[in-house]
């Protein structure tokens, strides 16, 4: 069972190695002639006014939190979907109740304006 995952582990390592090797090749083959202007952060021709790690909109956090909620729900739905035929009507109704509760929350955040970007 677990040995099925060996090729997956190998593939991930190969992917990491390919990335490392490509960047290393770039360093070996490419020139290295840094100067202070070249190394400054991209800005439209003038000095940066402030630090770039600035405040940003709180809605990005909101999206992240909503994502966790819904992704967790998907994680619940996955095993349910596979065995749906075995658990029959009872399992189906149980998941409908679960989905209904979630939809109530979804409507609430919709009405509260959590999904608005203007």
């Amino acid at each position: 069972m677990l040995e099925n995952y060996l090729p997956v582990l190998l593939f991930m390592s190969v992917g990491l190695i390919i990335g490392v090797v490509m960047i290393a090749l770039g360093f070996v083959l490419g020139p290295q002639r840094p100067d202070s202007e070249k190394l400054s952060a991209y800005e439209c021709g003038f000095e940066a006014f402030e630090d770039s790690r600035m405040k940003f909109d709180v809605r990005y956090y909101l999206v992240a939190i909503l994502f966790i909620l819904f992704d967790l729900e998907i994680a619940f739905l996955f095993p349910w979907a596979v065995v749906l035929e075995k658990i029959g009507i009872f399992g189906w109704v149980a998941m409908l109740v679960f989905l209904a509760i979630l939809v109530v929350g979804f409507i609430y955040e919709w009405k509260k304006g959590a999904l608005e970007w203007e």
Partner: protein, 359 residues
């Protein structure tokens, strides 16, 4: 000593076999990525009544190699304000999952590197790691454009991943398995391409592919790198091979999304005329091989979806960011939830012609 060498070789033999298999997937994939960039420029060129690349080699066929060598010999610039380790780690984190997801893609009836029972779950998990590459790149660059691009891009990827996950739940209900090989086999039947899941799951199919376009940050959802607003988005500070790794990851992800769409909704390596051709035709050389199930059908279906990617890019103007979020949250998620309920009811009621067979 010799004994020890032989025994280590025998212990490691499966590993070297797997490594050969991995190379046999990765190298053609890289060639595909290289020529996808060429085909993209050619097709978009012709759609805009231009020629596309014509100079390097016959009809510009060597263009991808020229691009590759150019990028190899460019300087990799690490901005002075950047966090060096994270800055170099980000492209690697973007590329590795885009490659590793190929481990579970079944290439034909018997060939798959890792025949995982949780194949689809693995794909969903691994492709989610890619967003770390984006956000780490944006943050570690210490540039406003990069940070803004990374924020936009990750919020968008995360929003569309939900719609995508719901669409996958629909596929799981229909196929009753998370194993990608089993998902393909459950689409086999006697009615040709009408047996595939694209027909009963049509809304999910459309939503899956559009979410896939949004996930890979391709036009018309490419606000992450909207060049008129934030230059190049999260990879604005990257140059040379560090940029090339991001580029490779993006195109490998496009091919991956196309392959998954082909497997889950268009029957993977199944022939579109399954059940319609008689056994005598299938036994004829050449014609029979083409008409029978096989790897070539998977390739054709992947090419079909990739063409859609390019067509979208040539056709649609860029979406505004609030429109993208509205589409993801307020249109796709409600539709997928409704269709999951419909599909699960259809499976339980054994509605034909897809689910009236005993499984």
């Amino acid at each position: 000593m010799l004994q020890w060498l032989i025994s280590t070789y025998e212990n490691w033999q499966p590993v070297s076999g797997y490594l050969v298999h991995i190379v046999a997937i990765t190298v053609p994939l890289f060639v595909c990525v290289a020529y996808l960039t060429y085909v993209e420029r050619k097709i978009i060129g012709y759609m805009q009544v231009r020629m596309g690349p014509t100079r390097v080699g016959w009809k510009g066929l060597l263009q991808p190699w020229a691009d590759m060598f150019k990028l190899l010999f460019k300087e990799i610039i690490i901005p002075s304000g950047a966090n060096k380790i994270l800055f170099l780690l980000a492209p690697i984190l973007a590329l590795a999952p885009a490659l590793a997801a190929w481990a579970v893609i079944p290439l034909n009836a018997t060939t798959v590197l890792a025949d995982l029972n949780a194949g689809l779950l693995y794909v969903l998990a691994v492709t989610s790691i890619g967003v770390y590459g984006v956000i780490i790149a944006g943050w570690s660059s210490n540039s406003k454009y990069a940070l803004l691009g990374a924020m936009r891009s990750s919020a968008q990827i995360v929003a569309y991943e939900i719609a995508m996950g719901f669409a996958l739940v629909g596929v799981l209900i229909a196929a009753k398995s998370m194993n990608l090989g089993d998902i393909i086999v459950s689409q086999a039947g006697q009615h040709g391409f009408l047996d595939w899941f694209w027909l009963p799951l049509l809304p999910l199919f459309i939503i899956y592919f559009i979410s896939g376009v949004a996930e890979t940050n391709r036009a018309p959802f490419d606000v992450a790198e909207g060049e008129s607003e934030i230059v190049a988005g999260f990879h604005v500070e990257y140059s040379g091979m560090a940029f090339a790794v991001f580029f490779l990851a993006e195109y490998a992800n496009m091919i991956l999304i196309s392959a998954l769409a082909a497997i889950m909704f268009l029957g993977g390596w199944l022939s579109p005329v399954q059940g319609w051709v008689s056994a005598t035709w299938l036994a004829t050389p050449y014609i029979g091989w083409i008409l029978d199930d096989g790897f070539h059908w998977l390739l054709i279906k992947i090419a079909f979806f990739l063409f859609w990617y390019l067509w979208f890019r040539a056709t649609f103007p860029r979406y505004r960011y609030d429109q993208i979020m509205r589409l993801g949250w307020k249109v796709f998620i409600p539709i997928t939830i409704v269709w999951i309920v419909v599909v699960s009811a259809m499976v339980l009621a054994q509605v034909g012609p897809w689910w009236d067979r005993p499984s």
